[in-house]
Amino acid sequence: MSSNEAAKISVRNLNAWFGEKLVIRDIDIEIPEKQATAIIGPSGCGKSTFIRCCNRMHELVPGARVQGSIQLDEESIYDRSIDPVLLRRRIGMVFQKPNPFPSMSIRDNVLSGLKLTKSGRLKEADSIVENALQQAALWDEVKDRLNDPGIGLSGGQQQRLCIARALAVEPEVLLMDEPCSALDPVATARIEDLIHGLKDDYTIVIVTHNMQQAARVSDRTAFFLMGELVEYRGTKRMFTTPKDKRTEDYITGKFG
């Protein structure tokens, strides 16, 4: 990483387990601020587990364990003094399958993070809803039916609603776990456009099994294989002149 880029998240010697199974080994990586970083790799390579370590979601799974250090703005997130609940308000997450809350309207879904955290910002609810939906490029499609149920939207709209919901809490980092894998190509293109705009304000880490997507949206790409970080470079260079033979084999489609 060049010296003018500040690392938002820096990871040292990260290991993570499910029960006895080691799924991530000795990961060292620095994720730059206000850029999009893609994590690619075949299924089961630990890429989802890696980002779930970054917002301390991994430990919610019974038997799951983490070792090593992750720093957010030079503050260790696994320190005893850090409350994971508060940490997750700074690091938003978008999941593989759109998961809007079925009991809530579109509006309440956007506000759900603020309501769940009893935020004082609820006083400006209307402008927060509009802002978040604008940022998620969903406002024009839903502004006349904000009180309709969120699950009535199409899959792509639901996913953008989930992005709006994550943005409404004003996180610093947005983790995206294969956010387009359940969407059609048109909806995927909209989300990708969105990511381009969002990285002006947020640090984005996107897990994807789609290499074209990584090439299209990210500034840097990390290639994970069997729980290890094989290669991590600027996206363009990674896809044109990979250093590691395994990376080359993967991006040219020899396996995975």
């Binding site: 917002n55 979601m57 919610l60 998961n99 009991s103 759900s112 993070g113 009893k118 994550a166």
Partner: protein
């Protein structure tokens, strides 16, 4: 293409199975028809006005009154007490089992709780009369030996497993991804539970409450034994009352001649009960269907 002929053997088996299924449908239909005929006969002799507007129920006295309110109030009172016990306790048990208990604890406790539903109601009835009422009398001095409170409480305990088991199913059916969504937004465990998990499971929880209420309304033995047999239009839980079901027991066991007006009252009360529980079951089925759709 010609459709393949079903072999005779299979058609016989199919017919036999159909007959087995039909038995229960035909029985239900027959019960409905008889209820309807006898109820119609009752209303030839007693006006709807007397049935709905009178507040006394004395079909066995020389001065007869046929107001349904005393029996209805008795049923509603005991059922309301039962729900007041079963809903909070059942729901808390369901929340504990689904959200807090370790998998092993859940697997052990749930069947044990469900055993409560298997205790014969006659046992509950005597338990209410012989144990619970005397204890309650020490706390509430002017409580009668027969009252609505004690059988209501016991009925509530009886239907706890119904509420907890069905609510637990509803809570457990909420996908983990929804809870993760809430956690990722910075919610704590209780916030997630009350703002996401329970609201998402609400139709299932409501369905369990309605089914439990319908079970309480239809419950017979406990109230027949411990609530007394005095039709009385009151919502005072301390005095003897009579529920609709207990009245039917009382008349059925007596020497009421077939065809008499007292005989017909059984059917009209039965029909009223049927309408109440039937509509509640329909409502709960609708709610369950909604939560199945929403939860998938």
């Amino acid at each position: 293409m010609e459709k393949a002929k079903t072999p005779l053997r299979e058609r016989i088996i199919e017919g036999g199975l159909l007959c087995c299924g039909a038995v229960s449908v035909i029985t239900t239909a027959a019960i409905l028809v008889i209820l309807l005929i006898e109820t119609a006969g009752f209303f030839k002799e007693v006006s709807l006005m007397d049935f709905f507007a009178d507040t006394q129920w004395t079909p066995l006295f020389s001065e007869k009154h046929f107001g349904i309110w005393p029996l209805l109030s008795g049923t509603l009172l005991t059922s309301a007490i039962a729900i007041a016990v079963a809903l909070p306790m059942g729901l808390l048990a369901a929340i504990y089992l689904s959200e807090f208990a370790a998998e092993g604890v859940r697997k052990t406790l749930k069947p044990i709780l469900e055993v409560l539903a298997g205790v014969p109601t006659i046992v509950y009835g005597y338990f209410a009369l012989v144990y619970v009422t005397p204890i309650l009398q020490k706390i509430i001095p002017n409580l009668s030996g027969f009252n609505a409170l004690s059988p209501g409480l016991i009925m509530g305990i009886m239907i706890i497993p119904m509420v907890s088991s069905l609510s637990e199913d509803a809570l457990h059916a909420i996908p983990a991804t929804l809870k993760e969504g809430a956690f990722a937004l910075g919610a704590d465990k209780l916030g997630t539970l009350f703002r996401v998990t329970i609201p998402s499971a609400l139709s299932g929880i409501m369905a369990s409450a309605i089914l439990a209420a319908s079970r309480a309304i239809g419950e017979t033995m406990i109230v027949a034994i411990a609530a007394g047999q005095q039709p009385r239009f009151t919502f005072d839980p301390r005095v003897p009352i009579e529920t609709m079901t207990a009245y039917i027991v009382q008349i059925s066991l007596g020497d009421t001649p077939t065809g008499s007006i007292a005989y017909k009252t059984i059917f009209v009360v039965g029909a009223s009960l049927f309408i109440m529980t039937f509509s509640m079951n329909i409502l709960s089925r609708k709610l369950v269907r909604r939560y199945r759709r929403g939860g998938s």
